[in-house]
C-alpha cells in the first residue's frame, strides 16, 4: 500500500517533522534533565549548570516529595478505576446503540473535553463548597443540618479527575467495542451463555486493549495533575504535580523542580511505552 517513495522524498517529509519534534519535544525534555543536575542560585535564570545528583538525593530523603509521588499514584489509580467503572457501561451502551444515534452520543461524550478544563473544575467548586449547590440542596431537603465537607479533600480530587478525564476513558473503549463482531456475542448466547456470562467471557476479554488504552490515557496525565488538586484538593494530600508547581513558582528552585519532573517522567516512562505499543498495534 505504500507508494514507491524514494529515500530522498521520505527525507523531505520526515526531515522537517522530525526536526520540529526534536526541537520542541526531545530537546526540552533533555534540558529539564540537564538543569536537574545543577544548583539553584540567586541569579537570573536562578540556577547554575552542574553535575550533581544532590537534587535527587533530596527528593528521596524528604517524604514531602516522595510522599507526593505515592499520593499522586494512589489517587490517580483509584480515579482511573472509577472512570473505568463509569465509562465502560457508557461506551458499551453507545457501541450497541442504533448506528444512526452513535455519532451524536459520541459527540455528547467528547463535547465536555472541548470545553475549558479550568471552567469544568470551577463548576465543581461551585457545586461542592460549604455554601454550594449540593450542600444547599441537601439542606433544603432537610437531609443534613450542617454543610458536608465536600471540597478541599481527596473526595473532591477523585471526583474532579473522574469528571475531567471520563471522555479519555470512553473514547478508546468505544473504539474497541464498536469494532467487535456482534456475531461473537450472539454465538455465546446461542451456545447457552447468559448475558452476564457472555459479557464477562466474550465481550470484556476482547475489549482489554481498549481498557488498557483508556486506563493509561487517564492515569498518565492525572498522576501529574495540577489544577484539580490545587482548586479542589486540600493541604493534607499533596500530589506531585502541585508540589512541582509550588517548587517552581514559590520556592523558585528550578533544579529541584526539574529533578521532580525528571523523576515523574521516568516513572511514567513504562506506562507511556505501553500506551505507545498499544497505539502502534491499533494502527
Amino acid at each position: 500500500m505504500t507508494a514507491p517513495w524514494a529515500a530522498r522524498t521520505r527525507a523531505m517529509f520526515v526531515g522537517p517533522a522530525f526536526a520540529w519534534l526534536g526541537l520542541t519535544v526531545a530537546a526540552p525534555l533533555g534540558l529539564v534533565f540537564a538543569v536537574s543536575l545543577g544548583e539553584a542560585t540567586q541569579g537570573a535564570p536562578p540556577f547554575e549548570w552542574g553535575f550533581s545528583t544532590a537534587n535527587y538525593a533530596l527528593i528521596f530523603a524528604d517524604d514531602l516529595y516522595w510522599g507526593a509521588f505515592l499520593n499522586a499514584a494512589r489517587i490517580a489509580g483509584t480515579a482511573t478505576l472509577i472512570c473505568l467503572a463509569i465509562g465502560y457501561p457508557m461506551a458499551l451502551a453507545i457501541a450497541r446503540a442504533a448506528p444512526s444515534r452513535r455519532a451524536i452520543l459520541l459527540f455528547l461524550v467528547v463535547l465536555p473535553f472541548w470545553t475549558s478544563f479550568l471552567i469544568r473544575v470551577y463548576a465543581w467548586m461551585a457545586m461542592l463548597r460549604p455554601t454550594g449547590l449540593v450542600n444547599g440542596a441537601l439542606q433544603g431537603m432537610g437531609l443534613i443540618d450542617e454543610p458536608l465537607g465536600l471540597i478541599a479533600n481527596e473526595f473532591a480530587v477523585h471526583l474532579g479527575i473522574v469528571y475531567a478525564y471520563l471522555p479519555f476513558m470512553v473514547l478508546p473503549l468505544y473504539a474497541t467495542l464498536e469494532r467487535m463482531d456482534p456475531a461473537l456475542v450472539e454465538a455465546a448466547h446461542d451456545l447457552g451463555a447468559s448475558r452476564t456470562r457472555a459479557f464477562w467471557r466474550v465481550t470484556f476479554p476482547l475489549s482489554l486493549p481498549g481498557v488498557a488504552a483508556g486506563c493509561l490515557l487517564v492515569f498518565i496525565p492525572a498522576s501529574g495533575e495540577f489544577v484539580i488538586p490545587d482548586l479542589l484538593g486540600g493541604p493534607d494530600t499533596p500530589m506531585i504535580g502541585r508540589v512541582l508547581w509550588l517548587e517552581f513558582f514559590q520556592n523558585r528552585d528550578w533544579p529541584v523542580a526539574c529533578a521532580l519532573a525528571t523523576t515523574l517522567a521516568a516513572l511514567l516512562a513504562v506506562p507511556i511505552l505501553i500506551a505507545d505499543r498499544l497505539r502502534a498495534r491499533a494502527a
Binding site: 517513495w5 526534536g22 472541548w114 479550568l118 467548586m125 461551585a126
Partner: protein, 271 residues
C-alpha cells in the same frame, strides 16, 4: 433487532446517568451566570448584569484578545507540523527511527502538563542565554509552546484520516509524473483539508484552554485568559467568571460541532 434484545438492559440508564454527571455542573454554571445575586450559589432572580460587567472588564478583554491571537498562531503552526507528521506516519512506511518519531508524537499528548511547561521554559531560558532571544517571553513564546502541544493532536487526526483514505489517488498523481511534493500539495492536502481543519480547531481550543504551560513560559507582560481566570478563581467564586464560562462553553461547543460535522461529512463522502 436481535442485537437490541441482547443488550444488557440497564446500559441506556447508565449512559443517561453518565450524561447527567457530565452536563449537570455545566448547566448549573450557565444558569447561575444569569443570577442577580453576587452569591453564585443562591438564586435571586434573572439578570444579565454580570455580562455587562464582564464586557467592561478591560483586563479580561485584553487577556481574551491575547489568548485568541496565541491560539490562532499556535493552531496554524501545529496544523502545518502536524499534517507533515501525520502524513509521514500514515504514508511513508517504515522510515528510519519511525518508532522514536511516533513516541515523540505521543509524549506531548500524555505527559503531565507541568513537565511540558517546565521543559518549554527551560528551552526558552537556554535560548535566551545562547542567542539573546526571547528576552521578554510574550505572545510568540506562548504560541510556540502551544504549537508543540497541538502538533501531536493534529498529527493524530491527519494520520487516522489518511489510514481511511485510498492511497490510489496519490499514487495516480505520482504515476502521471507529478513530483512527490506536487502530489502532496495538489492531491493529499486538498483531500485532507477537512481533517486539517478539524485538527486546527482542536489545537485552537487546546491553546485557548491551557493554563499550566502558559503559566510556566509567559513573562510578566503576557497574561492569557486562563491565567487571569485562574488567579480570579483562587480568590473565590465570581459571577463574572460564570458569565465568561457561559460564553466560552457556547463558543467552544459551536467550534466542536463544526469540527465534528466537517469530519462526518468527509467520512460519508469517502466511504
Amino acid at each position: 433487532m436481535t442485537r437490541a434484545r441482547s443488550t444488557l438492559s440497564w446500559l441506556p440508564a447508565a449512559l443517561a446517568a453518565g450524561f447527567v454527571f457530565l452536563y449537570l455542573p455545566i448547566v448549573l454554571l450557565v444558569l447561575f451566570s444569569f443570577n442577580e445575586s453576587r452569591l453564585v450559589t443562591v438564586w435571586a432572580g434573572f439578570s444579565t448584569r454580570w455580562y455587562g460587567e464582564l464586557l467592561g472588564n478591560e483586563r479580561m478583554l485584553a487577556a481574551a484578545a491575547l489568548s485568541l491571537g496565541v491560539a490562532a498562531t499556535a493552531a496554524t503552526l501545529a496544523g502545518m507540523a502536524g499534517t507533515l507528521a501525520g502524513y509521514a506516519l500514515a504514508r511513508l512506511g517504515a522510515f528510519a527511527l519511525r518508532p522514536l518519531f511516533a513516541l515523540l508524537l505521543l509524549v506531548p499528548m500524555v505527559l503531565p502538563e507541568v513537565i511540558l511547561g517546565l521543559s518549554m521554559l527551560m528551552t526558552f531560558s537556554a535560548l535566551d542565554r545562547l542567542i539573546g532571544w526571547p528576552a521578554e517571553r510574550g505572545f510568540l513564546v506562548v504560541a510556540l509552546a502551544h504549537a508543540t502541544y497541538g502538533t501531536a493532536f493534529v498529527a493524530l487526526i491527519v494520520e487516522a484520516r489518511l489510514r481511511g483514505m485510498d492511497p490510489a489517488l496519490e499514487e495516480a498523481a505520482l504515476d502521471l509524473g507529478a513530483s512527490p511534493a506536487r502530489a502532496f500539495w495538489r492531491v493529499s492536502v486538498p483531500l485532507l483539508a477537512p481533517a486539517i481543519a478539524s485538527g486546527w480547531l482542536l489545537a485552537f481550543t487546546l491553546s485557548l484552554d491551557d493554563l499550566v504551560v502558559a503559566s510556566f513560559v509567559a513573562g510578566p507582560g503576557a497574561t492569557t485568559l486562563p491565567m487571569l481566570v485562574y488567579s480570579s478563581v483562587r480568590l473565590g467564586l465570581s459571577p463574572q467568571i460564570n458569565a465568561l464560562a457561559t460564553i466560552l462553553v457556547f463558543a467552544i461547543a459551536m467550534l466542536a460541532f463544526v469540527s465534528v460535522r466537517i469530519d462526518a461529512r468527509v467520512r460519508r463522502l469517502s466511504t
